[in-house]
């Protein structure tokens, strides 16, 4: 009897090790991607392939994520995936059917708020990374002011958070100094952000406004 138990244990341990080995090999050089979806019963597709798990392992690269749920507008997004990526998918409740579903399912409503909050936090983190210099604004002195504002001519994608730097300076010298400050005090390459010189008498500009 004792012999049999030991045999069974050895077989089980071997199978478990084999399982761990297969899992490790199948996930080798793949990125862990966590999906946060509301409503929870939405159908999720990655590059057109249906997914049932909330954690998937994908090779780093760009993928199209789609979440759909009866009565809700499909949520489609193209995202670059790297290690520990979080993808938030929230089909919009734009119909009577969708609203009714949420009213009748308070748990789903709560999930909607939680996932929505996560999306807002993610947007804030992204913008803090991209525009880390915002905390150093405004730069003010007697010759110029540099502050942030909405983009004027920049091309932004729908839903993308973007800003421009507004420079107020009355003289050509003030604008040159403002540009130097943007480089030295904010530590950014002026090419990478839209800079809008509000008082610049640019006689060429009328052609596009």
């Amino acid at each position: 009897m004792r012999k049999k138990i030991i045999y069974i244990l050895v077989v089980l341990v071997s199978l478990y090790l084999l399982y761990l080995g297969i899992i490790a090999i199948s996930r080798h050089s793949k990125a862990k991607v966590e999906l946060f979806v509301a409503p929870s019963k939405s159908t999720v597709e990655i590059n057109g392939k249906k997914i049932t798990s909330s954690t998937v392992y994908l090779k780093p690269g760009e993928y199209t994520f789609k979440a759909s749920f009866d009565g809700f507008d499909d949520y489609i997004t193209k995202e670059k995936v790297s290690q520990n990526t979080e993808i938030i998918l929230t089909p919009s409740a734009n119909s009577y059917k969708a609203t009714k579903y949420l009213l009748n399912n308070p748990d789903e409503q709560r999930l909607f708020n939680d996932v929505g909050g996560k999306a807002v936090n993610q947007a804030i983190t992204t913008s803090e990374k991209k525009y880390g210099f915002l905390s150093k604004l405004p730069i003010e002195n007697r010759y110029f002011t540099v502050n942030s504002g909405a983009p004027v001519f920049a091309k932004t994608k729908p839903g993308e958070f973007s800003i421009a730097l507004y420079v107020d300076a009355d003289s050509t010298g003030g604008r040159i100094e403002a540009l130097k400050s943007i480089k030295s005090e904010l530590g950014i390459d002026p090419t990478s952000v839209e800079i809008y010189f509000r008082n610049s008498p640019n006689s060429f500009r009328e052609r596009v406004e």
């Binding site: 091309k155 003289s171 839209e194 060429f204």
Partner: protein, 214 residues
């Protein structure tokens, strides 16, 4: 099952786990470098190290010399690379990458001409470029003159400073033109103090940056 047999089986299992861990650690110490190209090239990859704010080669002989696109396995780490075209009119390109959890992609596309070749080309193109600017901004150009002219990439991009004649009231402005269908066209309308990448998404960043800093 006697004690001896149990120890043998247990040792075998332990051996498998250790071998698996060693193989797994070895495989994990490599990562892929993917090289794609639509042209002839020779690429040399060197181990690199940080030197103050820059990254430089840590040895003079390359760890890999490549002349074909493909997927190559390298030990994880910091690398410096340089690639060039067999055609001497094209400028070699340098770069570096830290190969870790993700594959690194080097896309060798069209080479840019050397500075000398671009300067030679500018001599023949300058009058057409000036005409294109004057035709578009005939009135405004009375207050400006064209300075810091330079061609970029394969001579199909041009950047310059419109230097203000009224230093007190008018700013110096940057302008970029692109050669399309054998004619020069203004690509940054209007010329501005700084040409920013979020506004001109169709113009390569390196050109915008060089023109702004010229």
């Amino acid at each position: 099952m006697n004690r001896r047999r149990f120890i043998i089986i247990f040792s075998c299992l332990l051996f498998i786990v250790i071998v698996y861990s060693v193989i797994s650690a070895y495989l994990n110490s490599f990562q892929y470098l993917v090289v794609s190209s639509n042209t002839q090239f020779s690429l040399k990859i060197y181990p690199a190290e940080h030197d103050a704010d820059t990254i430089k080669k840590s040895q003079t002989s390359p760890v890999k010399s490549l002349d074909k696109p493909g997927k190559y396995r390298l030990k994880k780490g910091l690398y410096f690379y340089t690639y060039k075209s067999p055609n001497k009119e094209f400028k070699p390109v340098d770069g570096n990458f830290d190969l870790q959890a993700k594959k690194y992609f080097i896309n060798i596309k069209d080479f840019a001409y050397t500075d000398q070749k671009l300067s030679d080309l500018l001599v023949t193109e300058q009058s057409d470029i000036n005409k294109a600017i004057m035709n578009k901004y005939s009135q405004q150009m009375n207050s400006y003159e064209i300075k810091n002219s330079k061609l970029y990439h394969k001579g199909d991009w041009y950047g310059a400073t419109l230097y203000s004649k009224d230093r007190e009231n008018l700013d110096d402005l940057k302008i970029i033109l692109k050669k399309e269908n054998n004619a020069w066209v203004v690509a940054t309308n209007p010329p501005d103090i700084v040409l920013s990448s979020p506004v001109y998404t169709n113009i390569p960043f390196d050109i915008l940056s060089q023109v702004n800093n010229n």
